[in-house]
């Protein structure tokens, strides 16, 4: 039916499968949209946030998607600035994932503020000393860059490409892409950092506060670094999931392994620096304020030492070690374990840097408060996931995302279809990336 739109040389599932998947994910999306409207119309009383938890699930989700979306800028940086050409085979997908992550982040921010109609004040009345201002400016600009990077992909659709203007535009964009990628890397460097800075400058919150280098607290660099390190893990993870669902090899192993290796070394270096930072903070910064590690991690079961251990060791040292060894990254299950742990690790880091800061009391007579998100918060947090899946579904179906797909999956082989499994997978999962329709038809 839509054969004319599907890229040449590849095969896609039947239309009904595609629509069914869209429908299912679309229902989740609608649920999220409903919750979002509730928040806009009735206000933030729909959430379980409170005066102790001014930042909660959303800001975590925001920081987390931006961190995992960091794969886009870092892969772009490696491909266009450093010149790792193999990565051109995965850059499209990285850009798409980045685009989804950043648009989601902006959407979440738009729900999160108390007076959404005054959002533009942050630009118009900006206080440049605020890390959040830097976040807003760089985030929006970098989102613009991602749009520019995504446009040529859209233009490569078979039908659009037939229009000469679009064809030319796409061609020219490709030619100048290095410039955009470099600018994007610059912007992303700053906003990833300033997201870290958001926490690090809060000198009233010893859990968050980090000493300064120039105007930036350590967390500035740690955030950029961790996004660069763990972002590619997410790109790899989503690629792996896509491959599993489509049952196709989409990217060659050497590409995957190269990215995994770089990520591994980045994680290792990050974890070392993070370890130094943590011990400096615990032993010097916090102690100068009369606090010890125990005050932060020893007074509440949820925000206990286990969290610190998981973040640094299980989700830091372990994936780093797996990915830097050739055996580790070449063994599929080890590699997948490592990138999964990596993604969990960076999300956990962002969780700690948002929620534990809010939870940890500073005044001696204050209390440790826990918070549970309301369904509206959960729904609006799942909303971007659903939106992301839909965008991937459409993009994968109609755009040549994986340059190596045709080569790796010649279409004259006539394999049987296992639709049942596809549908099962579809119905069984709700929030994680499901793209059953990608199963070969």
């Amino acid at each position: 039916m839509d054969a004319a739109l599907i890229p040449k040389g590849v095969k896609r599932c039947p239309m009904w499968q595609f629509l069914l998947a869209l429908g299912v994910v679309g229902a989740v999306l609608a649920w999220g949209v409903y919750a979002m409207l509730l928040c806009w119309i009735k206000g933030l009383n729909q959430t379980n946030m409170n005066d102790y938890y001014g930042f909660a699930l959303w800001i975590w989700a925001d920081l987390a998607v931006i961190a995992v979306g960091g794969g886009a800028f870092f892969t772009g940086f490696l491909r266009y600035v450093i010149g790792k050409n193999e990565l051109k085979n995965i850059i499209n997908y990285a850009v798409l994932i980045g685009f989804i992550c950043y648009s989601s982040a902006l959407l979440i921010l738009a729900i999160d503020v108390g007076q959404p109609l005054r959002n533009w004040f942050i630009f118009w009345h900006a206080n440049i000393h605020s890390m959040l201002t830097e976040v807003a400016f760089c985030l929006s600009c970098y989102f613009g860059v991602l749009c520019i990077e995504y446009i040529p992909l859209i233009l490569e659709n078979r039908q659009i490409d037939k229009v000469p203007f679009f064809h030319n535009l796409s061609h020219n964009l490709h030619e100048t892409m290095a410039l955009f990628a470099a600018t994007g890397a610059f912007l992303s460097f700053f906003h990833q950092g300033s997201l870290g800075g958001v926490a690090g400058v809060m000198f009233g919150r010893p859990f968050a506060f980090r000493e300064h280098i120039l105007v930036w607290p350590y967390t500035f660099f740690l955030f950029t670094w961790s996004a660069a390190a763990y972002g590619p893990c997410f790109t790899l993870l989503v690629t792996w999931i896509t491959e599993k669902i489509t049952r196709k090899k989409l990217v060659k192993d050497n590409v995957i392994e190269l990215l995994a290796k770089i990520s591994g070394w980045m994680i290792l270096s990050y974890i070392i620096v993070k370890g130094i930072d943590t011990s400096y903070w615990a032993n010097i910064t916090a102690k100068s304020m009369g606090l010890s590690l125990h005050d932060f991690y020893g007074r509440n079961w949820f925000y206990g030492y286990w969290m610190l251990f998981t973040e640094l060791v299980i989700c830091g040292v372990v994936p780093a070690v797996i990915l830097i060894t050739s055996h580790g990254r070449k063994t599929a299950w080890l590699r997948v374990t490592a990138i999964t742990l990596g993604v969990v690790g960076v999300c956990l880091n962002r969780w700690v840097m948002v929620l534990q800061i809010m939870a940890t009391p500073v005044m001696t007579f204050d209390k440790f408060v826990l918070y549970y998100p309301s369904w509206q918060e959960v729904a609006t947090t799942i909303l971007p996931v659903a939106y992301g899946i839909i965008l991937i579904l459409i993009s994968y179906r109609y755009l040549p995302i994986f340059p190596q797909e045709a080569e790796l999956n010649p279409i004259d082989t006539n394999e049987p279809v296992s639709r049942e499994t596809a549908i099962d997978a579809d119905a069984g999962t709700d929030s994680t990336d499901t793209a059953a329709d990608m199963a070969p038809a």
Binding site: F55, G114, F203, R205, F365
Partner: protein, 277 residues
């Protein structure tokens, strides 16, 4: 303006609260709400979303019956100056310049119509002095009549906090201008909580002015970030460098200790406290 106004009347308004006199009655809280048009809901028992610019904390010495002791600690906005004047935890982080530090009075302002509700300032404030309007303020029919025109009622979705009743300063200035005087008297500008406190536990005035009660009691050392020189006076979380303008006084050691975080042994041996001198 026609004439350049060269009156440098720099002040640092601040408070001293005598915790031994404070009874925890809550008059300061209610006086504040009624002065500043603070709204109320049908259920205010969730203290995590209940707006009380002035909040009275109940401290205990942690000992068991019958050696338990209780102290009440009223906490308005501390109007931090930070390490360098104006570097308050909240002011420096607000992305939209909705909160500001006045070099003339030392008061941290909050402009409700500028705030768009990002809540970064709330995260940055270790005193929980900032409150978010989770709901639209609603007064029962007819009760809007008691709203004061001196303070704008706030709308849903923005942050508010204690202003040291700044409108009272403004209104007092009106009179000073009219009468062609230069300066305010100590009693011309007092906050609603100070005025209402039945125990007389709250004193308010200019910390710079040696004639003002607050200066006499707290003896702030302005060379060292306003650190109190009176040994019975302390500030909340002094060690963070927030440099607050609300001083507390108590004869009881455990109360003074509760004002800040100390590693074991530090409070007993103040010389060892890093960064406090």
């Amino acid at each position: 303006m026609k004439q350049a106004q060269k009156e440098h009347t720099t002040k640092r308004y601040g408070m001293v609260i005598d915790l031994d006199k404070c009874t925890g009655c809550g008059s300061c809280m209610v006086a504040c709400m009624s002065e500043n048009n603070v709204p109320f809901k049908t259920d205010e028992s969730n203290k995590l979303d209940s707006i009380t610019w002035m909040q009275v904390y109940k401290l205990t010495n942690g000992k068991s019956y019958p050696n338990t002791e209780i102290c009440y600690l009223p906490r308005p906005c501390q109007h931090c100056a930070g390490k360098h004047e104006g570097h308050s935890p909240c002011v420096s982080v607000c992305p939209a310049t909705a909160t500001d530090y006045s070099k003339e009075t030392g008061i941290v302002s909050q402009i409700y119509t500028r705030c768009f509700g990002c809540r970064y300032c709330m995260g940055a404030c270790p005193y929980h002095a900032r409150y978010f309007n989770w709901w639209d303020p609603v007064w029962p029919e007819g009760m809007e009549k008691y709203l004061s025109p001196d303070v704008s009622p706030r709308m849903r979705g923005i942050v508010e906090k204690c202003s040291f009743c700044f409108h009272r300063y403004q209104l007092a200035r009106n009179k000073v201008y009219l009468e062609g005087r230069k300066d305010l008297d100590e009693d011309e500008y007092q906050t609603a909580c100070t005025q209402a406190c039945p125990a007389g536990a709250i004193k308010f005035g200019d910390l710079y002015n040696p004639e003002h009660e607050v200066h006499r009691i707290a003896q702030p050392d302005m060379q060292h970030g306003g650190r109190p020189q009176n040994p019975h006076v302390f500030r909340l979380l002094e060690r963070l460098g927030t440099n607050t303008k609300v001083y507390y006084m108590s004869e009881r050691r455990w109360v003074r200790k509760a004002g800040d975080n100390y590693l074991p042994g530090e409070f007993e041996n103040p010389g060892a406290v890093a960064g406090s001198h």
